[in-house]
């Protein structure tokens, strides 16, 4: 049963293990049977965030109900690094992109934050969860990030404990991100991406005064929020995360 046959990869809630029968739910059944035209015996990959990745075989492949039976363990469970993305929601398409990219970049938590200049306070947690699951299925992650409800920046900061936080300081003069992170060292981190209009002066002041907050520069050009999210997480993963 060669692994490369299985191109489809699904996140499920059920336990995975030798010969475990996994009900796939109506949406997945429709996708497998009606969209992808898979039948009984077809192979897919499953993960649930706890039991690693499994090669499974369809034992039922109806349009409303499907069951997959686990055959071979492909990869043991491994955590993503402990880095959260705190981001101010922007326009819907770009927010969707931020979520997709953050999942590919391996964040462990997605936390929308409302700042003084946040353009949109409407962010649907269920939409964020769906997007995050689809991105995780595509990018070969073994887990999903936690998708949190949006909350004001001050409340989120109050709940961070001693988790360090990297943020782009637009005043200029901040150190290059890679240097600043290398000096600050590993541990639990959050990456904060502000709104398109930047932080309000009192927010920037609060961030600079916070112990464990690390102001960084992401180069001489102005990056949009979605670009900045990928760039900041790239530097973090390259310097302190699992890219090294």
């Amino acid at each position: 049963m060669p692994e490369q046959d299985a191109k489809i990869r699904l996140f499920v809630d059920a336990p995975l293990g030798p010969d475990a029968a996994v009900p796939l739910g109506r949406d997945a059944a429709h996708y497998l049977a009606s969209v992808m035209r898979l039948g009984v015996g077809a192979r897919i990959k499953l993960f649930n965030g706890r039991d690693g990745e499994w090669l499974a075989e369809l034992a039922e492949a109806g349009k409303r109900n499907a069951i997959a039976v686990c055959r071979d363990a492909l990869r043991p469970q491994a955590p993503c690094p402990d880095v959260w993305l705190l981001f101010a929601p922007v326009k819907r398409t770009r927010t969707d992109f931020i979520i997709e990219k953050a999942v590919e970049m391996g964040v462990s938590r997605l936390q929308p934050v409302f700042t003084r200049r946040t353009a949109s306070e409407r962010i649907r947690t269920d939409r964020m969860q769906t997007n995050a699951r689809e991105a995780a299925e595509q990018c070969e992650r073994l887990d999903l990030p936690e998708a949190m409800d949006g909350a004001p920046l001050v409340s989120v900061l109050a709940g961070l404990g001693d988790r360090r936080i990297m943020f782009c300081d637009e005043r200029g003069g901040a150190r290059p991100a890679a240097d600043a992170l290398r000096d600050a060292g590993p541990g639990p981190w959050a990456v904060l991406i502000g709104p398109e209009g930047g932080f309000a002066p009192e927010e920037a002041e609060m961030l600079r005064a916070r112990p464990g907050a690390v102001p960084v520069s992401l180069g001489p050009r102005i990056l949009r929020a979605d670009t900045a999210a990928v760039a900041a997480l790239t530097v973090w993963q390259s310097t302190l995360g699992d890219w090294a």
Copy 2:
């Protein structure tokens, strides 16, 4: 005439210099007068890729014709680092994103390449130029990248001379991008982003065999082409470019 008054930033072809009168063209006139409702005396920023950035004042602000007169030099001309992005076009929205992000990330040339598995061979150079100009206006760049017509990968590689090329090697085992780039050192570079389906085996072989080609890893997760473009350029700018 405080600089912060001028929120709009436009690329023009005309020379810029003390008291230079700059005709802005019909699209820009419409945007300034009808969309942004600016009148005579309003301030904008101008750049042309040669003469730095200038604060200018509208001397005419008609809906079809506008003229700006340069007042103060804001920044001297400075080049972006010599890094090209070679990318296989993907779906239109994602190709638009790749172009926007590449401009923000400071590439000096945009070169679409057609590979064995490139899904779309339709890429409009004029659309790419328009997107690149808009991104440059927004991100505070002082120049535009060259937007090249799409060409087959082999022809593009043949024209690279001894320019080094960084590409993601999907076989596994490639070195982390930051380490590989640091060892390879500065100079003219190209970053190559393959199609969603990856390079064909003979293309990957050709790349690995090429002198000056540096295979790199961008971490353990599978990145989409647009994510990979931002991530690869982030590592390049952090390690060898103008983020340091």
